[in-house]
């Protein structure tokens, strides 16, 4: 029976010949993880249920990244609950501030803990980022995660698949964020609700891994269960010297059931923004130019990777951040931070007037390190611009890729990078 990529991965993990969309399956998970917000709840559920051990300490990850470095006593207590559990149950993948640390969805792929063909559950909605590596990676709540920690399994309703085809070559300064926002603008915030999104086409084939992570990351903003890329040379090259296990490569069958196909001409995509308060409220950056802002955030599980920082730094180098604009750059992992230091781009950004913070989710969720007051606006490379997301309910987040964010930092208003430079994307 012909199957989609999502169906093949779920069938393999459910021990079945085939599955089809709509079916409920109990499937084995390859990796399960949680963060400092969701792990404490999962731990409580796990212990209250009387579970005595975890299914495999080598397949569970705890990453303290949301409120870390801990912003107050309450958040410190949450992280301590994680540390205690990690010690008691011998959890082998625990990461927080400093060496080896980072934002979970940048860190786990970087460590080679997610590989093609994997079934991954994470108690964080942006777990779908792992789809960039052809893993069926999906967000769940803390109770589902607790059950996965205890049993190594989770239940799934096999999703239908929507296919987004990006054909052609991206114009300069257009990256993964612009592509995925354009898609969300087109299909809406529930356009892929309960569905797997397949991202294919010649523009995707020439997209780097960092660009793919950005796109897979935002699948949830269209309601998607995961955002899947096919494994190709780019994927295999990324996995070299990194993957902790052997990839299993699946591909959708040519006649697999695809619910809907959406085609986007990559060459016609512009540097875009998503205006408050929906990731689907997408406009070309030029259409809202001169909209004044007070803050720029460059980082997060969406756009805090090395290529994102290179792109921002190329625009910031030799220029100055506009007076009164706070530019907060948060490399997504310690390793990315180190790489950015060695390439000199941290220096370029600091010289321009940006401040560099530690790897943390911080401002993305209005947690700390860049919270907005009433009436303030930020251009941010993060993933959500919901009401109150970065602070006060009457503050506003304008989502963008790193190039638009850096260009906006220089002018102090929403800016298309092509309006301040004739240079091209690094």
């Amino acid at each position: 029976m012909s199957m989609t990529l999502a169906e093949k991965i779920l069938a393999a993990h459910a021990g079945k010949e085939s599955v089809k969309a709509g079916e409920f399956v109990l499937a084995r998970v390859d990796f399960a993880f949680a963060n400092d917000i969701t792990a404490p709840v999962a731990i409580r559920v796990f212990e209250e249920a009387g579970a005595s051990k975890v299914f495999d300490p080598d397949r569970i990850g705890f990453i303290a990244d949301h409120f870390t470095p801990c912003k107050d006593i309450k958040t410190a207590a949450q992280v301590n609950i994680m540390r205690r559990f990690v010690q008691e149950y011998g959890i082998m993948h625990y990461y927080e501030v400093g060496a080896g640390g980072g934002v979970e969805h940048a860190l786990l792929p970087e460590l080679g803990l997610i590989v093609p063909g994997d079934l991954v559950v994470g108690a964080d909605s942006h777990t779908c980022t792992g789809g960039a590596l052809s893993a069926f990676a999906t967000g769940v709540g803390s109770t589902d995660l607790a059950a996965a920690m205890a049993t190594g399994k989770a239940w799934f309703k096999v999703p239908r698949t929507i296919r987004a085809v990006f054909e052609g070559k991206c114009p300069t300064w257009v990256g993964g964020k612009d592509l995925v926002l354009t898609l969300i603008g087109k299909i809406g915030v529930e356009g892929a609700r309960y569905m797997a999104i397949e991202l294919v086409g010649s523009a995707i084939e020439s997209l780097s891994m960092d660009g793919r992570f950005t796109m897979a990351n935002m699948a949830i903003e269209a309601g998607g269960k995961t955002g899947l890329f096919e494994t190709d040379e780019t994927t295999m090259k990324y996995l070299e010297d990194r993957a902790r296990k052997k990839p299993v490569v699946y591909k959708s069958d040519p006649d697999a059931a695809i619910e809907r196909v959406v085609t986007i001409d990559a060459y016609s995509v512009e540097p875009v923004v998503a205006l408050p308060h929906s990731p689907a409220n997408v406009k070309p950056a030029r259409e809202v130019k001169d909209l004044p802002i007070q803050q720029v955030v460059i980082g997060s599980c969406t756009n805090g990777r090395i290529e994102d920082l290179r792109e921002a730094a190329k625009l910031l180098k030799g220029r100055k951040v506009a007076k009164g604009i706070r530019v907060i750059v948060l490399p997504a992992t310690q390793e990315i931070y180190r790489e950015a230091l060695s390439e000199g781009i941290i220096g370029d950004m600091v010289d321009a007037g940006a401040t560099i913070g530690p790897p943390t989710c911080g401002p993305c969720l209005g947690g700390h390190m860049g919270v907005l007051d009433e009436g303030e606006k930020a251009v941010s490379t993060t993933n959500r611009n919901f009401v109150g997301r970065m602070g006060h309910p009457r503050s506003e987040v304008i989502l963008a890729g790193p190039a638009v964010a850096a260009a906006s930092a220089i002018t102090g208003a929403v800016t298309d990078p092509r309006d301040i430079t004739s240079e091209v994307t690094p």
Partner: protein, 165 residues
């Protein structure tokens, strides 16, 4: 278990940052979280809601983050049931896992207004609007989910089925 309460009505795409803003995610205590439920859209919600009240909302209720604190906050605030045109998938799972009754009933949502009194029979999926005396039928709960509920919740269901064997 029959639910009877007053309706609080909301629009489409009520996200989890509205249901419980992130700065409060430092506890899983229902009462503490409940004191800030729906704060992103209605700071007075926790004062106005009474135990047993019902939220009626549009499409994609609970979109956004995977925080289980969202259904916990609603339960903590006293919300007995959420009726929506559709639910975001992680919220849907989390509601089952935290004991928040949810029903998909697009027609009912169109017809019901804030302040109406409803009586809900979850086992039959029947919603009776006591104010207008109209009756609506919710989408049935999938059989798989019914088994999960009847076996005493997810942890019990999973541990019984996958361990010792």
């Amino acid at each position: 278990m029959t639910v009877e309460g007053t309706v609080h009505k909301f629009n489409d795409d009520i996200d989890t940052d509205i249901i419980i803003p992130a700065p409060y995610l430092v506890t899983s205590d229902p009462a503490e979280l409940g004191a800030h439920a729906m704060e992103g859209i209605d700071p007075e919600f926790h004062n106005n809601v009474k135990p047993g009240d019902i939220i009626v909302a549009g499409r994609n209720f609970g979109c956004g983050s995977s925080r289980e604190h969202a259904p916990i906050a609603l339960v903590g605030a006293g919300v007995a049931c959420v009726i929506a045109k559709s639910f975001a998938r992680i919220f849907y799972r989390n509601a089952f896992n935290t004991g928040l009754l949810i029903l998909e009933a697009p027609e009912a949502v169109e017809d019901i207004e804030a302040g109406h009194r409803l009586k809900v029979e979850p086992s039959e999926g029947v919603i009776h609007n006591l104010t207008t005396d109209r009756v609506y039928h919710a989408e049935p709960v999938p059989p798989f989910m019914q088994v999960l509920l009847n076996s005493g919740g997810l942890m019990k269901f999973m541990m019984e089925r996958t361990l010792d064997g």
